[in-house]
């Protein structure tokens, strides 16, 4: 396989995943109903999973679906449903003064920065990042093995630090949620 040669199936897959991602992303910010926005987010996540599979990163794709679509967005929806945000009228007043103008500037800066980066740097397209010579370095279990080795040797410190951070966050959240009751009983005890 030469450096740049596109097979029709891979182009089709790319177009599909790109459409899923972009349409979903636009949906998230343009739809009024929060539940519909969450559904659009799921669509984006699926698009990303398809893109991962096209790159032979099967494990990442599966984890993407399990963790993001299967757990995180479910939690979003859970909270939306619990709080009943969905049935309330939408506020047209801006919570922050001039936030639309700031948003426009932010978008311009980001997009402009990305375009400049693309123009300035060497932009590689079509190359499979987890493959060499057209064949993936590792499919299936090998893929997991590569990932596991990298995480538990080269990036061990970062991995453990992330784990500790997450635990701290969870413990903190539990503490914050529980503190009210504890202080109440303490005050009552005094």
């Amino acid at each position: 396989m030469t450096a740049v040669s596109y097979a029709i199936p891979s182009v089709l897959i790319f177009v599909t995943s790109a459409l899923l991602i972009v349409v979903g992303a636009v949906g998230v910010i343009s739809v009024k109903n929060p539940v519909h926005a969450a559904l659009s987010l799921i669509m984006t996540l699926f698009g990303v999973a398809v893109a991962f599979i096209a790159q032979s990163a099967d494990f990442l794709a599966a984890v993407q679906i399990i963790v993001y679509a299967g757990a995180i967005v479910v939690l979003f929806l859970f909270v939306i449903m619990f709080l009943g945000v969905d049935r309330r009228d939408h506020v047209t007043v801006e919570p922050l003064v001039g936030q639309r103008a700031f948003a426009a500037v932010g978008v311009l800066l980001t997009v402009g920065g990305l375009v400049t980066l693309m123009a300035r740097s060497h932009w590689v397209t079509g190359a499979m990042s987890v493959s060499s010579q057209g064949t993936p370095i590792a499919t299936g279990q090998g893929n997991v093995r590569e990932l596991g080795t990298a995480v538990f040797t080269t990036y061990l410190f970062a991995f453990e630090a992330t784990a500790a951070l997450l635990i701290i966050a969870v413990v903190g959240a539990v503490l914050l949620a529980r503190r009210e009751r504890a202080t109440q009983t303490e005050e009552a005890g005094q």
Partner: protein
């Protein structure tokens, strides 16, 4: 195309029309098998339950009432399709398909037999053998939450909403235990591929994961998967006495039929998954009959799967429903620590015997600590500390008063 061949030997000589045809036939065969078995499963469940309850059950349509499901399906399709005025129309119509899709996809990864040779091509009797393997099943069980959740929410009615909140919490809780047991299996197999999980269990009953892993993961898995399925005794999601019909209260006609179909599809698929992961899938004794050797693995697979399907029916007929808080306790306080601890022990033994025993001791220590923590938590929730402190002076000391009033609790 090399990596395709590493996934499935069918593609070893490139993708030709014959290969494509075989793939299409496999997909159609898998789909129709699942559909056919759903019809039989519904009949089987109704018949078995009626036998257990000393009733006759369906008997009018076809021999032994076999066509009852078809008659029910026909009736449901002819019914009026209602959408509640309060409903979110788009999501309401989308939700049944979100339930159906994961049910269909999960079945595709299950190997139902050995490898056949058709027109010179080796054909695995498995619709697809993706490299991510068993993770696909986890992903699909994660996705199947959405169908239930959105169906309940979009109905715009309070009972379905309550049901979907319950369903979400329940399915997310039990997914963790499910994932942990699957990790144990993957550790022993050394591969994610379902095909490899099955082949690693070949060579006799002693190599099956149910025995090789020491029964605990099997028990955790079967409990967790029953909870994932929302089947009795974990069917708080559609507890008739509390929530009318649960998340599908507002559904009628064909959309209701889809929910029903998906539920039974899931039951069959999960029985098959249990067989695949723990009982060696199609493994079993094969007599040396010429030309027919390939039939026996399929028969073994069917026998085992029907056995588990019967177990689910049995559960439904004999076990009372869990209370919601008991269900959460079982999931978070028992199954997740148990599956995590067992995974550590298995991992330890895979490295070396010494590590295995070390891990066993560590897990035992953690277990006692956890039990102590649960005790303290239980006391805080319902014990002496939870009693409101007095305002002013009591005529009797607190301890004496408590021993007088709380006698029967101790």
């Amino acid at each position: 195309m090399n990596w395709l061949a590493s996934v499935d030997p069918l593609f070893a000589h490139g993708v030709t029309w014959v290969v494509l045809l075989i793939v299409v036939i496999k997909v159609v065969a898998g789909f129709s098998m699942l559909m056919g078995s759903v019809i039989l499963m519904i009949w089987f469940e109704r018949k078995a339950i009626s036998d257990m309850q000393s009733r006759i059950g369906p008997q009018r349509w076809g021999p032994f009432g076999l066509l009852q499901t078809l008659a029910d399906g026909l009736k449901l399709i002819l019914k009026e399709d209602l959408v509640p005025a309060e409903a979110d129309r788009f999501v309401f119509k989308l939700a049944p398909y979100l339930v159906l899709l994961p049910a269909l996809v999960t079945f595709a990864i299950i190997p139902i037999g050995g490898t056949l040779t058709i027109a010179g091509h080796p054909v695995m009797l498995q619709v697809v053998n993706p490299p991510m393997g068993i993770l696909l099943m986890l992903a699909m069980s994660g996705i199947s939450v959405y169908g239930v959740m959105l169906a309940g929410w979009s109905s715009g009615s309070k009972y379905p909403l309550l049901s979907s909140v319950r369903a979400t919490a329940q399915m997310i809780s039990y997914e963790a235990a499910l994932g942990m047991t699957i990790v144990t299996i993957v550790l022993v197999t050394g591969s994610l591929s379902v095909h490899n999980i099955v082949t690693s269990q070949a060579g006799g009953v002693w190599h099956w994961n149910i025995i090789r892993l020491g029964l605990v993961p099997f028990i955790v898995f079967i409990i967790a998967i029953t909870a994932e399925l929302n089947r009795p005794p974990f069917d708080v999601v559609e507890a008739e006495s509390e929530l009318v019909g649960g998340f599908h209260t507002e559904y009628s006609s064909f959309r209701f039929a889809i929910f029903f179909l998906a539920e039974y599809m899931n039951t069959i698929t999960m029985s098959a998954i249990i067989v695949t992961l723990f009982l060696g899938g199609p493994a079993g004794w094969v007599p040396s009959v010429p030309h027919l050797r390939w039939v026996f693995p399929i028969l073994w697979f069917l026998v085992k799967t029907v056995g588990f399907a019967f177990c689910y029916i049995w559960f439904r007929a004999s076990l009372p429903r869990f209370r919601y808080d008991q269900l959460m306790d079982l999931g978070w306080k028992r199954l997740i620590p148990l599956s995590l601890g067992w995974m550590l022990i298995v991992a330890g033994f895979l490295v070396a015997k010494g590590w295995g025993f070390f891990m066993g001791a560590t897990v035992l220590l953690a277990w006692t600590l956890l039990t102590r923590a649960f005790e303290i938590g239980a006391v805080r929730e319902s014990g002496a500390e939870s009693v409101l402190p007095t305002v002013g002076e009591r005529p009797l000391p607190g301890g004496v008063l408590r021993s007088m009033t709380d006698e029967e609790d101790d």
